[in-house]
Symmetry: C2
């Protein structure tokens, strides 16, 4: 069986959300699994690339804020006008690291439900209680996850996985790696599909 599609995303990135909403269908239609891998743009963009936060970048910041809302409409998604653009995604990211270990069949619905809670429903994913409530709605044991979120092992694992992603060259959200080839951007999925179908070019 061909290898999985590795899908890197940060919950602070609405473009990660647009990708998350579509990567499952893309993978299934090509007989691939998805490996859901949270990253932290704080570590890639601010610390490794030494760039300012996207929304603080002259010209690009205002464009991206508008483009995110416009893109949601293009993809048929509701972008809440009240959604907070900046927040700590740490608890949500750790929940995915935990679920990859302890509830692997719930990871895709968990990721989608977390993204939607924040961006469609203006929830606040920086709050552990909100992450736990979303996870419980997706059939994940709330108490087990709550314990997991404060486990040093989970925190370390997220940090290591973000480091591994950076070592592979991952910097943006979403990023797809398939058959060793990396693609950045929710707007590159047609190219990803073509790459899989043609075996590259």
């Amino acid at each position: 069986m061909p290898g999985p599609i590795e899908f890197y995303f940060d919950f602070v990135s609405p473009f990660g959300w647009f990708g998350a909403e579509r990567i499952g269908a893309l993978a299934r239609s090509h007989g691939r699994a998805v490996r859901w891998q949270p990253i932290l743009l704080k570590a890639t963009v601010l610390e490794t690339m030494k760039l300012p936060a996207l929304l603080d970048t002259p010209l690009k910041g205002p464009y991206i804020a508008r483009d995110a809302r416009r893109s949601a409409g293009y993809y048929g998604l509701h972008f809440s006008p009240e959604a907070r653009m900046s927040f700590s995604p740490l608890n949500a990211a750790r929940a995915v690291v935990w679920a990859n270990l302890h509830a692997p069949d719930r990871v895709e619905p968990l990721v989608l439900a977390l993204y939607r809670r924040h961006w469609s429903e203006a929830g606040d994913l920086s709050q552990p209680d909100q992450v736990l409530a979303v996870a419980a709605d997706q059939g994940i044991d709330r108490d087990a996850l709550q314990a997991g979120l404060s486990e040093p092992g989970i925190k370390t694992l997220l940090r290591e996985q973000v480091g591994d992603a950076i070592a592979r060259g991952v910097f943006g959200s979403p990023t797809v790696i398939v058959d060793g080839e990396m693609f950045w951007g929710a707007d590159r999925f047609d190219m990803v599909a073509a790459w899989i179908e043609r075996g590259g070019w």
Copy 2:
């Protein structure tokens, strides 16, 4: 008649090339003209956004270099392995400013021929002689253009037009503005077409 599609591009940007190869057909199929507007990423990215050059950015630089070649293949274009990634686009940009005034019906073939000379044929657009030779091939009066390239008025006009673009929020290559709405990226043309067809959303 609906307004033109304003197409902003820099010859140093292979993504500007990919956009240039496709914007004419997109515009014609929607009954629009194209206004070809050179910009200078040195002015937008380095001076206004205060960012490092794309190719010098950790992680993103190597990705973009690979993605540019891969995207050319995706769009059915030949990307010369010998093409220089960094060069001064000033003469080529001034030639377009001049042609917009003095040979408006030759602008689209001029832009495409300049892009192809550099990126497909590994010419060197930083050299005025190469720009003049490409222009002459496209039916432009070589002597008149040569005089135009050193006219202070043309240099000033390019500078002013780049300033106007920045004032409108343009920062990347290619950028499309249609019906007042701005789209950045050669990979956004499906969204541009949808925006025109639906009158926004």
